[in-house]
């Protein structure tokens, strides 16, 4: 089943065309990679998919439903969750609180919550238990009470992932999950991404510059360059594709 698909996506910033006529299709249960040289329009496309950016033309579909008119906060209710390229966390707040905000979709009626009605208390207890589970899943259970700004970078990346996971999404969009991480952290995060996909059955679409991550983890890769689709295929196909090699390394001449 197709989860997310888009076609003809064009985004212009003034005179600069960030995306032109981009198309991709994400099938359920796989890990997708989105790669391309700097400035190729990967993050713009990500923002279009998560509705932080309107596109000038083209459409985005989720499970066959057009989501061009949705607002960003509605995406997570549909089942699409995302992380950000530069860590975007509630930095003064504890790890647990960050994860709990991520679970906001499951929190129920704000009015019941405000007055701590019995139904809300029950939901909050369940929510707290889930937050603990997600934290344990990403091995953050020893840092629950610590403000995230005091955590090492790799941990913050994991908190970001935990926040996105806490909403129990069907699709998770990871914007450069290992950017700025050391090799050990990269290995850990690879395992986590695989786990999210294999154990939890969540479809993953990730933007990444780290080729080892993309090649080892992804089932299928989309390559874009100068805002246009360049190639797509399995990691093995992509690594042999002359167009991709040219885009990354330049012409032989």
């Amino acid at each position: 089943m197709t989860h997310i698909s888009c076609h003809g996506v064009t985004v212009k910033f003034g005179g600069i065309v960030a995306c032109s006529d981009l198309a991709l299709s994400v099938e359920e249960g796989k890990i997708y990679g989105l790669i391309g040289p700097n400035g190729a329009g990967k993050t713009t496309l990500f923002n279009v998919l998560s509705r932080f950016q309107n596109c000038d033309s083209g459409s985005v579909y989720y499970r066959g439903q057009c989501i061009d008119r949705k607002r960003p906060h509605e995406m997570v209710h549909l089942g699409i969750s995302r992380t950000f390229q530069n860590i975007n966390l509630f930095s003064e707040q504890s790890t647990l609180d960050n994860i709990l905000v991520g679970a906001h979709r499951l929190a129920g009626s704000p009015f019941a919550n405000m007055l701590a009605l019995p139904s809300a208390r029950k939901t909050q207890r369940a929510l707290l238990a889930r937050a603990h589970q997600v934290a344990e899943l990403l091995r953050l259970e020893n840092h629950l009470d610590i403000p995230v700004r005091n955590l090492p970078y790799g941990h913050q990346k994991r908190v970001e992932m935990a926040r996105a996971l806490a909403s129990e999404p069907e699709v998770i969009l990871l914007d450069e999950p290992v950017a700025g991480c050391n090799s050990q952290e990269v290995e850990e995060l690879k395992d986590f991404v695989r786990m999210i996909n294999r154990e939890l059955g969540i479809t993953v679409l990730l933007v990444e510059h780290d080729m080892s991550m993309v090649m080892e983890v992804c089932d299928y890769i989309y390559v874009i360059n100068f805002g246009s689709n360049l190639a797509e295929g399995t990691p093995a196909e992509i690594s042999r594709d002359p167009k991709v090699i040219t885009a990354y390394l330049g012409d032989e001449e």
Binding site: H73, F84, P110, L115, R130, E136, R139
Partner: protein, 376 residues
């Protein structure tokens, strides 16, 4: 394993523990939860003690009538500061216009008391609702403002309210409205009676604010304050929660306005048309610490009591207030409460660490162990 996963079933029911949980983690989780609940209980006992002391204080031998009025005034400022701290401290929207909401509460109360001889209980609710409604509308109008622009916008609102009460005939401008003596459930309130009404109101609002801030709603407020995009991508409806914060904040300050009108029995544009209330509330929030539950208590007491003790010094009190404000900003930017709470918080954190370590003597399971579930 994939067949067990899916929407809403990502994690099994909380009671089952989850597929990746072993006995160590469960023990650790239980110990952590127990300790955190203990901390919460300590907080509640502390606040309870504070209210108990305030309730029995009038029985002390040296207490005089004027003290009741002074204490009521402190409570009014605490209430207003609670309103400001929800908006400024929690949601991150700086307001310099809450004097406007105070005025709306006060004038609602004065008009209702003068023309309809309404009971104070109804006054309190209707004053709060009137301010809350205006706050809701204002929240929608200011939807796109942030930072300094929000401060200027709210300041404009305070001036707007000032202009209205100065010029619209029903508010009687600088002549003011003389209110009949306040009654609660038909009883005429003396100074101590009024003090107890104020204290009970503060008790209710404190319980409400405490519940609110601990709930997902409070978390949504703080999420919008700290990282708006991340909050939105977590499903926090920015429009809804901002407007809600405005409404609740205005409601609380409106209730303070009702009490403030009743404490003197007189409202006029001379006091409510000015922005000094707005500035005082903001200062109270900053001094007390905008994030802490206790912040408004410290800040409110500070704003009322400093000029009171320095009355002989006349204008010098203003200067001293400024000096203290600068000192606070310099040495305790997160507020006096934060300064007091910090060692306790560190202590608690250490305690939590110890409990977690004790609960699981063995290191957390390796990732491989997490994958092969049940191996433990």
């Amino acid at each position: 394993m994939n067949e067990g996963a899916g929407r809403g079933r990502l994690l099994p029911a909380a009671s089952e523990g989850g597929p990746f949980v072993n006995a160590d983690l469960l023990r650790k989780r239980a110990a952590t939860a127990a300790l955190l609940a203990g901390f919460r209980r300590q907080n509640m006992i502390l606040v309870g003690l504070l209210f108990f002391t305030a309730a029995v204080a009038p029985a002390l031998p040296f207490v005089q009538d004027w003290m009741a009025t002074q204490a009521s005034l402190v409570i009014i400022y605490i209430l207003a500061a609670q309103g400001v701290s929800i908006l400024t401290g929690q949601t991150g929207l700086v307001t310099v216009g809450h004097g406007g909401f105070l005025a709306i509460g006060a004038y609602t109360s004065a008009l209702l008391a003068k023309y309809f001889a309404v009971d104070l209980s109804i006054d309190l609710v209707s004053g709060g609702i009137a301010a809350g409604l205006i706050g809701c509308v204002l929240g929608l109008i200011f939807l796109r403002l942030a930072g300094a622009f929000m401060a200027i916008g709210t300041l404009g609102f305070a001036f707007f309210v000032g202009a209205i009460v100065n010029n619209v005939p029903i508010f009687e401008g600088r002549d003011g409205i003389q209110m009949p003596h306040s009654h609660l459930f038909g009883m005429r309130l003396d100074d101590f009676g009024f003090y107890y009404v104020s204290l009970a109101t503060l008790g209710l609002t404190t319980a409400f604010v405490y519940t609110l801030l601990r709930s997902p709603v409070g978390r949504a407020f703080r999420a919008l304050r700290d990282a708006e995009k991340a909050a939105e991508s977590s499903g926090v409806n920015r429009l809804f929660y901002r407007t809600l914060a405005f409404t609740i904040s205005a409601f609380l300050t409106g209730v303070a306005g009702v009490l403030n009108a009743n404490i003197t029995g007189y409202v006029s544009a001379e006091t409510y048309g000015d922005i000094w209330y707005s500035v005082d509330f903001l200062v109270a929030t900053v001094v007390g610490g905008s994030s802490a539950l206790m912040g408004p208590f410290v800040g409110g007491a500070f704003i009322v009591m400093v000029p009171f003790y320095l009355e002989q010094l006349a204008d010098f009190a203003f200067i001293l207030k400024g000096v203290v404000l600068i000192l606070v900003l310099q040495f305790a930017p997160a507020g006096v409460c934060d300064l007091i709470a910090r060692p306790f918080r560190d202590l608690r954190r250490k305690q939590l660490q110890r409990v977690q370590d004790d609960a699981a003597k063995t290191p957390p399971p390796a990732l491989a162990a997490l994958f092969s579930r049940g191996r433990q």
